[in-house]
């Protein structure tokens, strides 16, 4: 998936102005093998991924899963599972790379805070707006301006738009679950939205 993103980005890099350093460091392996292509002289050129490309890919990904699933109208679970598993894989890889320079985590709250602050900054370039917990293994993450929803709307608006945006939350759900799982926290993640671009993720941590 990332190599595809990168290819897309290099093609379109010069064409578009909306370029974001999303997943930048994912693309650059740090040791000598990969860095040759990234370095010009002594200065390191960042590898940018075009934000528009990423959004197109996410749009198409959800659409593709609906198209390739037999009876997707009635079998939303199957589509959910596919998208969630994709996110799970990506989440696992992300934390493996981005927790390298970090001291070890003390407890579950520490891990959730990492997701809210650092991982959210890496993926969405902002932090979670509100984190609530009941101290019994349920965490509610609220994002008032979810980046992947910013450009979404429907004619009817309001509740209708929120309803149709739900499948686009399944991939980030998996992303969070994968990140948590790789850090040793087994959980179930569900998301909901009442009005775009606001959304909430609920993390239920499995009792160990």
């Amino acid at each position: 998936m990332f190599s595809l993103l990168l290819k897309m980005s290099t093609v379109l890099q010069s064409a578009s102005s909306a370029i974001t350093p999303f997943f930048t460091s994912l693309a650059s392996g740090d040791e000598s093998s990969n860095s040759a292509s990234l370095t010009a002289g002594n200065t390191i050129k960042p590898v940018y991924v075009n934000e528009s490309c990423l959004e197109f890919l996410l749009m198409e990904m959800v659409d593709l899963m609906f198209r390739t699933t037999a009876d997707s109208e009635n079998d939303k679970e199957a589509v959910f599972y596919k998208l969630e598993m994709l996110g799970y894989q990506v989440g696992q890889s992300l934390v493996e790379r981005f927790t390298r320079e970090r001291p070890r985590f003390v407890d579950t709250l520490d891990v959730v805070k990492f997701i809210c602050k650092e991982l959210w900054s890496i993926i969405f370039k902002k932090q979670i707006d509100n984190l609530k917990t009941n101290h019994r293994g349920v965490y509610v993450l609220q994002d008032n301006n979810f980046r992947w929803f910013v450009r979404m709307s429907t004619e009817a608006g309001g509740a209708d738009a929120a309803k149709r945006a739900v499948p686009y939350l399944w991939f980030p759900c998996g992303l969070i679950r994968g990140a948590l799982a790789n850090l040793g926290v087994i959980s179930v993640v569900v998301a909901e939205t009442n009005s775009l671009p606001q959304c909430t993720f609920q993390i239920k941590i499995a009792k160990s």
Binding site: G29, D30, T39, I44, E96, R104, V106, N182, L183
Partner: protein, 166 residues
């Protein structure tokens, strides 16, 4: 974002002199469920079985270190234990994957910075392996990727060859 970029660059020039007094005997990678992922013996003086044994025993030591408390929060665990003519070093990633490096004990002093550098390289190789979409992270099979094996080989060999130059 600039800060993230800079720490992925490596000071290639200084690496050779740093590594001069370290001879890696064995590199072992142990998964988060304490399953063996990869083990490589770089010597012909000891049989593979010995290193399997060392990797196994080091798991206990690593777990002891973790439970020692949050004050030892660094991913680098330092010298785990010494055994006959071998010194065993450990490293634990945030994702509970353990790296074990076995060195032969020489007269020269082994600096922690050098060891950290080696573990960093191993971690990079492992990260690249994890980011491969065809690799199943939850599976308990050992790693068979050619790229990964080559990366570990080059880490072990570069540190074994340097010793012969002295």
């Amino acid at each position: 974002m600039n800060s993230t970029l800079t720490f992925f660059s490596s000071p290639a020039a200084s690496e050779e002199e740093i590594m001069s007094n370290i001879k890696i005997q064995c590199i072992a990678i142990i998964g988060k469920m304490n399953n063996p992922l990869y083990i490589k013996n770089f010597t012909d003086t000891h049989p593979d079985l010995k290193y399997h044994y060392i990797a196994h025993t080091s798991i206990d030591v690593i777990e002891e270190r973790i439970s020692a408390g949050p004050e030892s929060a660094d991913t680098y665990l330092g010298l785990l234990y010494a055994m006959e003519d071998l010194a065993v070093y450990g490293y634990l990633t945030n994702t509970r994957v353990k790296f074990v490096v076995v060195l032969s004990v020489l007269d020269a002093v082994i600096k922690n910075a050098d060891m950290k550098n080696i573990f960093r390289k191993i971690h990079t190789a492992y990260i690249n392996q994890v980011c491969n979409p065809f690799y199943n992270l939850d599976g308990k099979k050992s790693i068979v990727s050619k790229k990964f094996i080559a990366a570990i080989d080059s880490i072990g060999k570069s540190n074994s060859e340097d010793i012969s130059k002295i």
